[in-house]
Symmetry: C2
């Protein structure tokens, strides 16, 4: 990059700058270490200042506000009206029609008895209605958390050989997932889920959707001997090594219902007003297919069915939780992974719809609500639940107003559990497979992937790693790799901060990047650099080398242009240096020493509060914080330094 050295406009700039007086850099008002620590802790854990509404209120009001804070139902409950109820009944019934077939299907995806999926659509929505602050979230089991729980537990326990133990481990994992979620919220550590970036999630979701869909080949093709593994390779091997098990009746039925479901999905996507088409399709498919099987006695012709389901509400399951023994590590790990994943989905869904309806969702509070819902769920025969994206979208489109729609859904599921279970006896597994495939197909978001490619190539790489990692390694490792790369990128940005050379925009005292602003000109004798990151242990070595190279390059160019001026001043614009540490303080000291050996003067511009404070506190860098080394703007620094040079030069005349 060649700086455009120009003399004429330089003088102009200087004149403008010299008209204004020089303003001093000041350090921020004194705060003790304790005050700083408190401010830092508050910013870290309470950035949303959740208690601000309590300030200056009387004791009684505080009590009411506190109760409303813990149980949001107390806030909207008293204002609830019949009009709202009407809307909520419509949306509640709509999501129930989706929740019943999806509940059964997702439970099968997690290798659990189908009825557990229905249990999980009954208790958790009731809990959420009391504790949750989102008005649109439809709570229940979700595909990805079901997949992860099923695959992680199956690595150590076979659901076919040891179904009771498997169920116990599933409930225990749910308990730990809930405990973990609630703790994150309670300890205000919700920002941990932010480390799953958008790119990571898009790649991960797409990979998981493919894995889930491949698993459905078992029921869609009617294969009885299917691999227990999740990876794309073993599944495809299993499918094509067992072609003799393929059942044409199953394939035909599966194909028809899959086409039907995908078609309804397509219609609803094209016309959001017809949301009920895709919302009602799964239940219709279940009813139709069950009737078909019943009429043709198809279960005797190679079509496998769910079989008898027990009637009645959720039995208690707290006696089934494992808090010790050899599987404790497994259930804690499974709880952690499913907890984070389902939390991410629930929070993201809540925030999305809150933004659409312009209300606030408190992330940490939601985490406590979702966590408690899972803790209670684990002792009432439910497995991991959260706010599901597809069902919440239907809920929103169906015009839900409050969490009462969740209550309506739960009541509908209750009625089903009490009286309608025998009807599901002949429901074929193949239709459940088709429902799952249709549900997860929407997780593959190709336009978003293209958008990421356009905006940020590195994010695309992260997405690709998550996607391929999930497909070829495993769900949890794919996720870990993607998070690792994202964090690595952030660290790399810190390790290699940008330093850009600034030049004057003619006719102003504005100084901007010479590379970006082609009209900007460099001021002869001045090397003006802007450092664009906190200066800390990870980058001081780099910055020293880089600044040395800037000086050498500048001097080489000057020598090539046969100018005798050379650099006299190095101005560091610190406007973008938000923090320094002890290594950063040493950096300034060392840099000043190194520049002095080359007869260059170092001047700092606009150091922020923390930077100037630390420089002043260091015994051997104090002189850098002296007023004559500090300027408020680059323009003032250039003007002041030029005037000293001129007064020196005039002595020789």
């Amino acid at each position: 990059m060649e700086p455009n050295v120009s003399n004429s406009s330089d003088h102009q700039a200087v004149e403008i700058a010299m008209e204004t007086e020089v303003h001093r850099v000041v350090s921020p008002p004194y705060r003790s270490t304790l005050q700083k620590l408190r401010a830092r802790l508050k910013e870290t854990f309470f950035p949303d200042d959740p208690l601000r509404q309590f300030k200056g209120q009387s004791g009684k009001v505080k009590l009411i506000l506190g109760a409303q804070y813990i149980f949001p139902i107390l806030e909207w409950g008293p204002k609830y009206s019949l009009t709202l109820l009407k809307s909520d009944i419509v949306s509640g019934l709509t999501i129930a029609s989706l929740a019943i077939p999806q509940g059964i299907s997702y439970a099968k995806l997690a290798n659990l008895p189908p009825i557990v999926g229905l249990y999980s659509s009954f208790v958790p929505p009731l809990i959420y209605a009391v504790l949750g602050s989102s008005r649109d979230l439809a709570v229940g089991p979700v595909s990805i958390a079901s997949l992860i729980m099923g695959s992680m537990l199956r690595q150590q326990v076979s659901p076919a050989k040891d179904p009771i133990l498997f169920l116990q481990l599933a409930f225990s994992s749910t308990f730990f997932a809930g405990l973990f979620q609630a703790s994150l919220g309670f300890l205000r550590l919700g920002f941990i889920i932010d480390f799953l970036s958008k790119a990571t999630l898009i790649g991960f979701m797409a990979g998981a959707a493919i894995i889930v869909s491949l698993q459905q080949l078992k029921s869609l093709l009617g294969i009885t001997h299917f691999t227990k593994k999740m990876g794309i390779v073993p599944v495809l091997t299993s499918v094509f090594h067992n072609t003799h098990e393929w059942s044409w009746q199953t394939i035909l039925m599966g194909f028809c219902f899959l086409v039907f479901l995908l078609l309804t999905r397509h219609i609803s996507m094209k016309k959001p007003k017809l949301f009920w088409v895709s919302a009602g399709a799964p239940l219709l498919s279940v009813i139709l297919s069950t009737l078909l099987v019943f009429a043709f006695k198809a279960q005797n012709h190679g079509i496998s069915v769910i079989g008898k389901l027990q009637e009645g509400l959720n039995p208690p399951s707290w006696n089934m939780l494992h808090f010790h023994g050899s599987y404790l590590g497994l259930v804690m790990k499974t709880g952690l992974v499913t907890g984070i994943i389902s939390l991410t989905e629930g929070i993201a869904v809540g925030r999305t719809f809150a933004a659409l309806k312009n209300y606030q969702v408190d992330g940490n509070k939601e985490m406590i609500a979702i966590g408690l819902m899972n803790i209670v769920g684990s002792s009432t025969s439910c497995y991991v639940t959260t706010g599901a994206f597809s069902r919440s979208a239907v809920n929103h489109n169906a015009g839900c107003k409050t969490a009462v729609s969740n209550i309506i859904m739960a009541v509908t599921v209750m009625v089903t559990l009490l009286f309608l279970m025998p009807l599901f006896q002949y429901t074929p597994n193949v239709v459940l497979g088709a429902i799952i495939v249709t549900a997860v197909v929407g997780l593959i978001d190709i336009p978003a992937a293209c958008q990421i490619w356009k905006i940020d190539k590195f994010d695309f790489l992260v997405m690709l790693c998550a996607f391929l990692g999930v497909l070829f390694i495993s769900v949890q490792e794919g996720l870990a790799i993607a998070v690792g790369i994202s964090v690595f990128k952030v660290l790399l940005q810190i390790t290699r901060p940008k330093t850009v050379m600034l030049g004057n925009i003619p006719g102003t005292d504005i100084y901007r990047n010479l590379h970006q602003y082609k009209e900007a000109v460099s001021v002869p004798g001045f090397l003006i650099l802007s450092i664009e990151a906190p200066i800390n242990f990870a980058n001081t070595t780099y910055l020293k080398e880089r600044i040395t190279r800037w000086i050498e390059e500048y001097e080489t160019e000057d020598a090539n242009a046969k100018k005798k001026s050379g650099v006299k001043f190095v101005i560091l614009d610190l406007s973008a240096v938000s923090a320094i540490d002890t290594n950063g303080v040493s950096f300034f000291k060392d840099l000043k020493m190194a520049l002095e050996k080359k007869n260059l003067e170092l001047v700092l511009v606009n150091p922020l509060g923390e930077v100037i404070e630390k420089l002043q506190r260091a015994d051997d860098a104090k002189e850098l914080a002296r007023p004559d080394y500090l300027f408020l703007t680059v323009g003032e620094a250039v003007a002041a330094l030029l005037s000293t040079v001129k007064s020196h030069a005039s002595n020789y005349v």
Copy 2:
């Protein structure tokens, strides 16, 4: 924090701002993805541009420069003169007198035969003289790497029961340390050692010095049954449970020599010109104590001696390297940890003295030199070596000019190995212990610790963790904890970036932090925020919440002050936002939408090249990158927006 709302000076500011024309933000010139990738890779791996001297040279010159690049000796060798040699002989002999007793002592610290310490002071300095680019580095075994190697290997193999295997593992670890060091340099990944911050190193060094000194209680007190563990607790237990083994002759001798050595150290520290006092003291102590033992036959009175040492130069040891088998993991891990630690010391020492003499040391090249030195060393009976701080300081003070002083030292050690080994037979172990304690005492840097406490409390915490971790857990885990906390701090800074409210400095169009600059005043109707970190996945949620809170606080204050104005514009100063990712792009889009719902207008000021490029590339954030939403300075933004408001207002008049 209360913004000082003032109307009179506000008008002044606006008038100044309105005098100058409005300047547009432009995006940087187009570069293809490949060009960007190349630039990024260059900044990451070649920030010092090591090949710039090759540019535009003829083939022959390139060849010579290339050879000089790989073997720095070719660069300074031809210019070598007799005057330089004289200085180098003096300094070479001085460091040899230090290297011989230290070599023997450090080998014992690593649980290796004393002679290995001398071998390691012979071959590696010769290799370094050819490959190294530092003129002051004195190469040989060092205390901390010796301690770590000894303690890590001893966890699995007993040096007393299985000395041959232990030696084999030590050489193998040295090989892997060298391989790792050379790879880091070759792959240009040298910045990895930067993650050991100054604070981490100070804490770590102090902890290690105490651990090393405690180990010396064995020889200083003459205890025969000593613990094999490193921690402070087992060592002290061992010392006070074996009081009956304490030998008063040993204690007396140890005490006298320790006082003598510490005294000489103190003298040299007070008067750097008397550096030879402390440099010569260890050798003098060895000679004196050996004579004493010989004269009084003290080995029969409870004073343990080194015993017979084999004469002759380094035997080959490449047949002793383990590249497979059950200990491979152990030697690789030991190699990694000792490699990183010794590399950190070597590079830091090289850079320190290079800065004093104003020449350049290429970090990655040095890593290759140190790595090759250890690889060659491992096959010639040497264990891990690097540039030692204490010896290099003596070398520098003794007036060394080039790496020839290392050659002189190696020759002196060679003479010792060939002819003087029988003299060490009666050297008592207690004097070696005293030499080690004196050497490591200097690693405890209390003034630096105080300085860190003054400058940065978080760095002090990191230092404390490293110190206590080394003392109470283990050397490598203490280090890992400190690095983990340092990285966590950096991530926390990214996760919770500072957002500050800017105000106008009266009489200028400069806008600065209202909290830091008390004279600054806020402009009514404008909320001007500066974001001081890259905007990415880790902080978009936080920033959304934080900005919402800023707006609410601003409005509450306005309401309290009974102003009707309220916020109309939110100006985000992006000067300090060095990068964004896809989450960052969504952040701007979401924020704009949220503000529009509140009837607020979002305006961006001075987005840097990367930020504006990405906003333009995103389909749904493009309008944010439209010229009328972008301003070059806050002053211009305020002026332009105020004039639109005025023109609106005048319509009502």
